[in-house]
Amino acid sequence: MNELVSELKNAIIEALNLEDVKPEDIDNDAPLFGDGLGLDSIDALELIVLMEKRYGIKLQDPAAGREIFRSINVMADYIAAHRTK
């Protein structure tokens, strides 16, 4: 799981072009949106694309992303359980 968390952080930094953020800056349990990493609705769309492209997970219901993208740990758990690649 630790490996997936680390990989996920790097993938998010790259996909969202978070130039000034390092993987160790991201708290695994902190919210990704709002106060935490400060992502917004466009980032949510980018994360949906990332999930499909990298892990073969197709989110049919965008509203489900609200829960899945709550934090790095929640995201990693979801990917581990649903990934097809």
Binding site: N17, L18, E19, D20, I42, E46, V49, E52
Partner: protein, 344 residues
């Protein structure tokens, strides 16, 4: 009628960015393709502000922010942009993803930034300028039409300040395509990416670079129509041909296209020296935006750098008083802009 002035003009190009150092020490660039020299964007934009922006958007934003900082103006009444291709890098990424991975896999950021009017929209959002906002995309005439639109808004009294910019970016693949159709890549040309913006206003103040005394745009004009347009442009400004210090042309090393500039100048303005600027700033759809930029700074400083001279005639040693900026492509479309020193 409101008189219209160029208060400031800024550029990013092959020359030193956000600077007029080219007037004293021009950077000489050889083809076949040169990259623009970017400023340190981090001085202007936080990582958060710039993380989604492609290079063309950063250039547009930084030239604009520099201009606004210099002039102290915060919210221009209008934002008018000319661009031949818009955000080409993002457009290519979007198309590549569509072709390789299907339409559900592309990045929303690349999608949003693949439209031509992204640039003008971004400038408006970032500077909170919520007035008139428009984008023209007509190949080499894009900037000129944006300028004409602003001019008409000024003359009708609808606006008092306007940002008018020209922006394009050249990618390796698009350069290859343009070379194949003979638009770019002729030996002697310096193809590049362009970013130039001018701030126009109706208040001469004490700091304006020059007056934009008039402009004309013509499509497939006959010689007679071109002659008439030039005559009316000069008449309207109350000057005669002999008052022109020089003609600022878009001569770029492509002989087939340069011939039209030479024919126009020798026919309509014999004895008036020709200048050029694309060998310094680059050639591309928005390169004409450097025309008024160059002319405005020459008029403001009262000098014509020798690096701009073209042909056998040189301007006299007096400070230039009026410059005609001419942009044309293959003799089909012409744009004439008359700039003169303030205080007339």
């Amino acid at each position: 009628m409101n008189r219209i002035y160029i208060r400031a003009a800024e550029q990013i190009s092959l020359q030193q960015p956000l600077s007029e150092a080219w007037m004293e020490e021009p950077v000489r660039v050889e083809g076949p393709w040169a990259r623009a020299t970017d400023p340190d964007f981090r001085r202007w934009l936080t990582p958060g502000e710039s993380r989604r922006l492609g290079t063309i958007l950063k250039r547009a934003l930084v030239t604009t922010l520099s201009l606004l900082r210099k002039t102290g103006l915060e919210h221009p009444d209008a934002v008018c942009v000319g661009t031949g291709l818009g955000c080409m890098v993002n457009t290519e990424r979007l198309l590549e993803t569509l072709c390789n991975e299907g339409e559900t896999m592309f990045s929303p950021t690349h999608f949003m930034q693949s439209t031509h009017n992204t640039i003008a929209s971004l400038l408006a959002i970032h500077t909170k300028s919520h007035g008139y906002n428009i984008t023209y995309s007509h190949k080499d005439l894009s900037f000129d039409l944006a300028l004409l639109d602003a001019w008409m808004q000024f003359r009708q009294g609808r606006i008092h300040t306007a940002l008018v910019g020209g922006y394009d970016e050249l990618t390796p693949s698009y350069f290859t395509l343009l070379k194949r159709i003979g638009y770019l890549g002729v030996e002697g040309e310096v193809p590049g990416s362009e970013a130039a913006v001018t701030l126009l206003l109706t208040d001469e103040g004490t700091d304006a670079l020059c007056e934009l005394a008039g402009l004309r745009i013509l499509y497939r004009p006959t010689e007679k129509e071109l002659q008439t347009a030039l005559a009316s442009l000069l008449d309207e400004a109350g000057i005669v041909r002999g008052d022109l210090s020089a003609v600022v042309t878009g001569v770029n090393g492509n002989g087939a296209n340069d011939l039209f500039y030479e024919a126009f100048t020798s026919r309509e303005l014999p004895g008036i020296p020709m200048l050029r600027y694309k060998h310094l700033f680059g050639t591309g759809y928005s390169a004409p935006a450097y025309g008024p930029y160059v002319a405005a700074h020459c008029l403001s400083r009262g000098i014509i750098p020798s690096s701009l001279l073209y042909g056998t005639m040189s301007p006299d040693n007096e400070a230039p008083r009026a410059l005609l900026v001419v942009n044309q492509r293959d003799g089909k479309q012409y744009s004439l802009q008359l700039l003169r020193v303030c205080g007339n």
